[in-house]
């Protein structure tokens, strides 16, 4: 039965299930459906390859960011190794595709599982360690994985990296940005759907309980070890999928992108988007990808302008500066991120012209 009425003015929720609904009215659900149809049916045919390229990068970043938000925003375990886990996913997919010869459909989820396993290994200290110490342990994980990617040459090909075969989806060749867009977008929607629903289950509630007070959570009968490890596993699984998709999309991979800076980029995404908000992670991914693109676009523009090409070289480091600045500004002025801004915006539209 459809409830196509407008939003009630006030909170009329009476039962717990009503608090847990994702869409308060069916309008929300309707808009969601319309959005997906437009994204799949219209966008690929109207957008230029360059725009599709940006959209694809957004989708990949969003998958990884959602995973990281499950770990940091919902479970409260700060990880500085997410960039490396994305790298593990990328290399796992590459190795599975080249050495074992697995097709795209098998290699990607398998890469996710491999990464989940690696993530859990680095998550083991989380049981004994609290906040700060755990953060440092993940920092160590980042450096160790970075090192392995470069120096385990027999597996990773060292600094030269690996070139992947063409991706094909059940006989369909995925070569253009357009075909990739459809696949990436569907995977992104699916994984986001999983994440949104995961946080509504007992697992999600256990994560939040651990974040808010792990001692109390343990007292209520939540096995900390299992749930923290699970959070690490799930988060790394998302990272692995994102990495695998990245590997197939960019065709050739090197250890270069998977540095600490990438980890920081993901953290910037979820902070700017909003900690503990799935939609926030997506906003953050979109924001950072656009920022990245516009920064490199500016640099390129200056490069091509004769007189300014020297300036362009010197402003390259400013990318890092801008990143840092944005993180700092968001933390100080809007700690709940874009998701909160979006909520305020929507609320003011809905309630206009009344103040509340």
């Amino acid at each position: 039965m459809l409830r196509l009425h407008f939003r009630p003015c006030g909170n009329y929720r009476e039962r717990y299930e009503q608090e847990m609904t994702i869409f308060e009215t069916d309008f929300g659900r309707l808009w969601m459906g319309v959005g997906i149809v437009i994204a799949l049916g219209v966008v690929p045919f109207l957008a230029s390859p360059y725009m599709l390229y940006i959209l694809n990068n957004m989708a990949i970043a969003a998958i990884a960011a959602v995973g990281l938000n499950l770990l940091i925003g919902f479970t409260g375990q700060i990880s500085l190794g997410h960039g490396a886990f994305v790298g593990v996913g990328a290399y796992a997919a590459a190795v599975l595709a080249t050495r074992v010869g697995l097709p795209f459909v098998v290699a990607v989820p398998l890469a996710g599982l491999v990464t989940a396993l690696v993530g859990m290994v680095f998550g083991i200290p989380s049981v004994r360690l609290k906040h700060l110490y755990l953060t440092i342990a993940t920092l160590a994980g980042q450096f160790i994985i970075e090192y392995l990617l470069v120096h385990w040459e027999s597996l990773t090909g060292g600094a030269e990296g690996i070139i992947l075969p063409e991706a094909d989806l059940l006989g369909l060749r995925l070569v253009s940005d357009r075909s990739f867009f459809c696949v990436l977008f569907l995977i992104f929607v699916f994984l986001t759907w999983v994440a949104v629903n995961l946080v509504r289950t007992r697992y999600g509630r256990a994560f939040v309980a651990i974040r808010d007070n792990d001692r109390a959570a343990e007292g209520m009968g939540i096995p900390l070890f299992r749930y923290k490890l699970l959070a690490f596993g799930i988060s790394s699984f998302y990272a692995g999928i994102a990495g695998a998709l990245l590997a197939f999309y960019t065709v050739s991979i090197t250890p270069e992108p998977f540095t600490l800076f990438l980890s920081i980029e993901y953290i910037a995404m979820i902070i700017i988007g909003g900690l503990g908000s799935i939609s926030g992670s997506v906003f953050g991914a979109v924001f950072i990808t656009l920022l990245n693109e516009s920064l490199s676009w500016t640099a390129e523009f200056l490069m091509n302008t004769e007189a300014l090409s020297r300036v362009a070289l010197t402003i390259a480091p400013l990318r890092e500066f801008v990143f840092g600045l944005i993180i700092v500004l968001f933390i100080i002025f809007e700690p709940r991120g874009l998701a909160e801004l979006w909520r305020i915006l929507r609320a003011s539209f809905r309630l206009w012209p009344f103040a509340y």
Binding site: L139, Y147, G324
Partner: protein, 292 residues
């Protein structure tokens, strides 16, 4: 044997520098429980300030020393005032993320101004500091590093253990509300700890610069290497910072000499993971006292 001794000396000197770098880090942690991910950048800022004043402005070295220390002190104060004060009382993850953001900001800024290449200081240490034991020679920079490290260790050990201001700082770290109730100026303590930490960071940055020359990337990497050092020594132990530094330095030096030079950079982190598995609060860290 000679190779071994040379590695030993190099490792000790390197370790002392790590320990020195870790001192400033521990300083902030002790007074405000903040993990400062921007520590390497604070070191680099001090080192580059020294470079600017000595090479580019051409001032005499003792004056440059004083100016750099004063400048770093002011910088630490400013950083606390501008960025950390609005976050007093916020959750820890925000504060940590803020320092991550700060580190990216500073690093970008320095790369923009100074570029990513190696810069060298003018040679100003007296020759007489060179020590010689048979075939083994200890360069004067190492001796200077060692002496400075000992000096700082003594001064800070004394400061925290016996001076009233040091006790107030530890009190704030322990229980902010109780410290407030006794009239400890908590905000001033935070500002002071950042200022002192920036000063110590600048000091260690300069010593590193004297030995190796300075480079933004390298200094910020050392800022992260502080983590294995302080974990080894315990996050809040000043003596532990130096001991941890020496252990990590030796580990690096011997791994680089006997195993493989490329492994050298990660071996501190591998050690870190092992230590955390075995002794979660480090070798010298305080065991959490929990009473209900």
């Amino acid at each position: 044997m000679e190779f071994f001794l040379q590695l030993l000396i190099n490792g000790m000197a390197l370790g002392f520098l790590y320990g020195l770098a870790a001192l400033g880090f521990v300083m902030i942690y002790k007074s405000s429980s903040v993990l400062n991910f921007a520590h390497g950048e604070l070191m680099a800022l001090g080192a580059f300030l020294f470079l600017t004043l000595s090479v580019w402005a051409g001032l005499p070295i003792p004056l440059v020393f004083l100016l750099t220390l004063a400048g770093s002190f002011a910088l630490g104060f400013l950083v606390e005032r501008l960025f950390l004060r609005p976050l007093i009382g916020e959750s820890l993850i925000r504060v940590i993320m803020l320092t991550v953001g700060l580190s990216a900001m500073f690093k970008g800024l320095m790369l923009f101004i100074f570029g990513g290449n190696l810069h060298n200081y003018p040679d100003f240490l007296p020759e007489g500091l060179n020590l010689r034991f048979g075939a083994i020679q200890i360069p004067s920079v190492y001796v200077a590093a060692f002496l400075m490290g000992m000096l700082f260790l003594g001064v800070f050990g004394y400061f925290f253990k016996y001076s009233s201001q040091g006790i107030y700082m530890r009190a704030v770290a322990d229980d902010q509300t109780a410290a407030l109730s006794l009239g400890v100026h908590v905000r001033r303590v935070f500002a002071l700890s950042w200022a002192i930490a920036a000063l110590v960071a600048a000091m260690s940055g300069i010593i590193l610069g004297i030995i190796n020359g300075i480079n933004v990337h390298e200094l910020s990497a050392i800022g992260l290497k502080v983590f294995p050092v302080v974990i080894l020594g315990g996050l809040d132990s000043i003596g532990g910072a130096i001991v941890g530094g020496v252990i990590i330095g030796l580990l690096e030096s011997f791994t680089g000499g006997y195993v493989s030079p490329s492994l050298r950079e990660v071996v501190p982190y591998i050690a870190l993971v092992f230590i955390l598995m075995v002794k979660p609060y480090g070798l010298f860290g305080l065991v959490e006292i929990e009473r209900v």
